[in-house]
């Protein structure tokens, strides 16, 4: 007789999350790293494969579900968040993930994005931000820098870009983070933290498109520039960066300033300490906006994690409450309700 105590649930590996489909991104694309980090993180997250669903829109990033051995739907352009919202409402037991890009989620799908954040639907959204349209072969995107020269803007783009993190914060997303395709460990940590979050978890991933926008994030990824331009946000830690670990972010009034910790005038006590759980919008916005200022470092990490009931929980709670109050629906009773009369 078998002893049930000896049965071990086999822990999944990254390979268990790979499908038999050939991955068809361009060689060297940052998407490969994202796929790898997701596949490496998911065994630790510990959700059974069949309970996970990936939903995407259209674009290079949106091919993602085909490469994940979970349930998945490759949707239509811009609508991933809306499809995922419907699925999550219908099936709150599932872990629902969205793979999307800057064009898919912030241009054609912008409306769904802000409303998903606002409602706090319990979705995990990975936005692959390469600041370009890849699948349509190189037009500027809503995150391209002003003046971007592309096929559709031969004389430079004249519009201003979105900062996805500030947009998500403005739309009241409860979990907002940023990471980079070339920071595998960091990305894995962000993915696991997002998985644990209840509510809309948004991760912007800087992703290099080596064909149409190569080097868009090189300041943040190349050895000689990275340390002076990248600021790792860590909870309860002072915001220090730089090759010599000598630069810090200080707040003066509402304005962030870079201070030199070796100038004899400042110490680590002057440096702003990161609080992921800070509810105050002002500080979080200030941090998310740092990357828009060329003088300032670009933060990666979790800008904010706050806790409030999710949209799907609200729906379940309401159904439960009304059902307790009215009793479980009786079809015949409903059909015969209202002003009725009998004909004999």
């Amino acid at each position: 007789m078998a002893n049930n105590d000896n049965i071990e649930i086999k822990k999944l590996t990254a390979k268990d999350f790979a499908t038999d489909q050939d991955v068809r991104w361009c060689p060297g694309c940052g998407d490969y790293s994202i796929l790898a980090q997701v596949q490496r993180s998911f065994p630790d997250i510990g959700i059974p494969k069949e309970k996970i669903t990936w939903i995407s829109g259209i674009g290079c990033s949106s091919r993602f579900p085909y490469y994940m051995n979970t349930f998945g739907m490759h949707g239509i352009h811009g609508r991933a968040a809306a499809i995922a919202t419907g699925l999550k409402i219908a099936r709150p037991d599932l872990s629902v993930w969205v793979a999307t890009g800057d064009g898919d989620m912030l241009s054609i799908g912008g409306n769904h994005f802000i409303h998903t954040c606002r409602k706090n639907v319990d979705l995990k959204i990975l936005l692959f931000n390469n600041r370009i349209y890849g699948l349509t072969k190189g037009q500027y995107s809503p995150t391209s820098e002003k003046g971007k020269v592309t096929k559709s803007t031969p004389y430079g783009s004249v519009d201003y870009p979105f900062n996805p993190a500030t947009l998500a914060l403005g739309a009241e997303a409860t979990f907002v983070a940023r990471t980079i395709d070339r920071e595998p460990k960091h990305m894995q940590e962000m993915i696991k933290r997002a998985a644990d979050h209840k509510g809309t978890a948004f991760i912007e991933i800087f992703q290099n498109c080596n064909i149409f926008n190569d080097g868009a994030f090189s300041l943040l990824t190349e050895k000689d520039t990275k340390e002076d331009h990248l600021l790792y946000l860590e909870h309860d830690k002072p915001m220090i960066f730089g090759k010599e670990k000598n630069k810090g972010i200080k707040i003066e009034g509402f304005t962030p300033k870079i201070i030199d910790l070796n100038d004899g005038k400042h110490s680590v006590d002057d440096v702003l300490v990161h609080d992921e759980f800070d509810h105050s919008a002002a500080r979080t916005f200030m941090l998310a906006h740092l990357s828009d200022n060329p003088e300032m470092p670009t933060p990666i990490g979790i800008f904010r994690q706050i806790f409030k009931p999710t949209y799907n929980e609200g729906i379940e709670e309401q159904i439960k409450r009304i059902t307790e109050k009215k009793g479980k629906g009786d079809l015949e009773k409903v059909l015969f309700s209202g002003n009725t009369w009998e004909v004999n």
């Binding site: 996970i52 995407s56 349930f71 239509i76 609508r79 919202t85 219908a90």
Partner: protein
């Protein structure tokens, strides 16, 4: 004719009443109350609310007139009536708008207080129609409804403005007296409606009774009317509008198939009511999602369908246009979904509160690529209930989106419904696929339907999407032969739905000179016109299409039995074109695009003309 309290009581078999006033006058409420009471006393009836797109258009204007037409009878009723016999006009604009549509020598009851110089000018009357010859030939009753209401409510604590808002109850009370209806149903309704504001219970009750007693006491009215109960099949009845019936239909379908109902929807006239109704059925586990836009309405429903819900989305024409791309996704992913289009006047924003049938092409053809979708249409308010269930049956059995067409006319119109027992309804439990050994996402059963494998089922992890799918495996495929195969497969699957469609039945001879063929909400007007034609000695057959794609198997055979086929439609002849294209058969298209339903007389005249007679004689 009998005499009661010194008044003559005249028995009539049917009557059409129009309540009309400013859009803030409460005419829809008055009409609905009169309908409910009329149904309870046993008449058959049909109603047509007609209201402006503006919520409160400026007072007294012609475009601000809101009307509620009601046809009730001791016989079968199929339409809200061509022309009113009785008009209740709360102001000059209401009189002006409705005058040209009245029967000769109609009864007109006007609120004479409202015929002041300001209102007359706003209604563009150069002289007072109550004083000149405008109303010659009609029986006009001038009742100072406003001042009589103020007088009746002078002891209440309400302000004059609040008191004036009760004047519709005075008018209703007067009509109850005139047509010999009881006050109790409305008194009961007032009590429950205003339970939190007792001062309005008191005021509206007083106004209703004051109107009733005014009829009894005034010497103005010498005659009141009775309409005997109709001979309806035995059973329990309720009044139901098309939108209410369609909502109940989906709640019922959800119970019958054992799947939770999910509605993704964005508010739009005249479909919003379905969202309102369904959001009230939480204790049935119904989940309603008021989406950020039309596209999220349908795509959320597709997500819910992927998750194993009975998913539906509701809209009207412009919203339908926005949902088009997502319908293609539902075709490609072969997920069950019902898309409900309550048609209104188009194109663009068109006539939001008016009716039309001009979205048939859009429903059958309106997508990129070869994207066949079954299309079915409801024909009456009651039929909306059964058509909703039918749409769900098809969607689940064939794993396909289904388009259900209704229209503003049947959505807002109401009629008495013999409520069915649940045991009279079909059951059609749907099973999810669970066998990991045999599962392939695009394998097919005998109906060419693919398996529904929902997330959460171990071993059945798979990916679907809008890219072309390889037969059986469902992997992305750009293979030319596979695409050709899959396009034909999807077409054949939809064609297969024919096996479940009942043969088209003909009312009247199976062969002959003339067949009148309709679809959707024109059923009532056509039926009444055909009855009229037969009463005039004309030989005419009638049939009505519920299934528009695919068509019933015997459609061509039915059409070939007649020399002439008349197709009345509230569009430019869309069904006529579909049938010509399908069968290379000549048909006579009869069209009207006024935002209004057909009058039976219009169809009757056309029948007479085609049969070569002047009114068939």
């Amino acid at each position: 004719m009998t005499q009661v309290n010194g008044k003559k009581v005249e028995q009539i078999s049917e009557v059409t009443v129009m309540f009309a006033g400013d859009s803030g006058d409460g005419m829809q409420l008055t009409g609905t109350q009169f309908s409910d009471t009329t149904a309870i006393v046993g008449n058959d009836l049909s109603t047509l609310p007609d209201y402006p797109a503006e919520i409160r258009a400026p007072a007294g204007t012609l475009y601000g007139v809101s009307g509620f037409q009601l046809h009730f009878s001791s016989k079968d009723v199929h339409t809200p009536g061509d022309s009113p016999d009785v008009l209740v006009a709360m102001n000059p604009a209401a009189l002006k708008v409705n005058l040209r549509n009245l029967k000769p020598s109609a009864v007109i009851i006007v609120n004479s207080d409202a015929f002041d110089p300001k209102n007359l000018k706003t209604a563009r009357y150069e002289s007072n129609p109550l004083e000149d010859d405008t109303l010659t030939g009609h029986k006009v009753f001038q009742v100072p409804i406003t001042s009589l209401t103020i007088n009746a409510l002078k002891d209440t604590s309400l302000s004059t403005k609040e008191i004036q808002r009760s004047k519709n109850f005075f008018a209703l009370g007067l009509m109850y007296w005139l047509f010999n209806r009881p006050l109790e149903p409305t008194l009961k309704w007032i009590e429950s409606k205003f339970s939190k504001t007792p001062q309005f219970i008191d005021a509206n009750t007083k106004a209703l009774k004051a109107g009733y007693y005014f009829g009894e006491q005034t010497e103005l009215f010498t005659t009141r009317y009775t309409v005997e109960p109709a001979e309806l099949p035995k059973g329990i009845y309720r009044n139901v509008s098309g939108n209410e019936a369609i909502s109940l239909g989906f709640v019922a379908a959800s119970e019958l198939c054992g799947l939770p109902l999910f509605l993704g929807s964005y508010p739009i006239t005249p479909a919003s009511e379905i969202l309102h109704f369904l959001s009230g059925y939480k204790n049935f586990g119904v989940k309603t999602f008021q989406a950020e836009d039309e596209i999220a309405g349908i795509t959320s429903a597709i997500g819910a369908s992927f998750g194993g819900s009975l998913a539906i989305t509701t809209t009207s024409g412009p919203g339908m246009a926005l949902k088009t791309e997502a319908m293609g996704l539902a075709v490609m992913t072969e997920l069950p979904l019902v898309i409900i289009n309550i048609q209104r006047g188009g194109p663009s924003t068109g006539l939001p509160t008016k009716t039309e049938q001009a979205d048939l092409f859009q429903a059958i053809y309106g997508r990129n690529g070869e994207a066949p979708i079954p299309v079915i249409a409801a024909s009456t308010p009651i039929d909306c209930f059964y058509t909703a269930i039918e749409a769900v049956k098809i969607a689940l059995k064939y794993m396909t989106p289904v388009i259900l067409l209704s229209d503003g006319y049947i959505a807002n119109g109401s009629e008495p419904w013999r409520v069915p027992r649940v045991s009279e309804l079909p059951t059609f439990k749907k099973e999810f696929y669970t066998d990991a050994e045999t599962f392939q996402p695009y394998m097919r059963d005998e109906n060419l339907s693919r398996p529904w494998a929902v997330p959460g089922t171990p071993g059945l992890e798979h990916r679907i999407g809008g890219l072309e799918k390889a037969h059986i495996t469902g992997n992305v495929s750009y293979d030319p032969d596979n695409h050709d195969f899959m396009v034909r497969m999807r077409a054949n699957k939809v064609k297969k739905v024919q096996q479940d469609i009942p043969a088209l039945e003909i009312d009247g001879d199976k062969e002959g000179e003339l067949l009148v063929l309709g679809w959707g909400g024109t059923y009532g007007a056509i039926t009444e016109a055909v009855e009229l034609a037969r009463n005039n000695g004309l030989k005419v057959s009638q049939t009505h299409l519920k299934y528009l794609n695919p068509l019933p198997q015997n459609t061509e055979q039915v059409l070939r039995g007649f020399k002439k086929i008349l197709i009345p439609e509230l569009n430019m002849g869309q069904l006529a074109r579909v049938l010509r294209g399908e069968f290379l058969i000549e048909v006579e298209s009869f069209t009207k695009i006024k935002g209004l339903p057909f009058k039976s007389s219009e169809i009757f005249n056309k029948i007479s003309e085609l049969l070569g007679g002047s009114n068939g004689k």
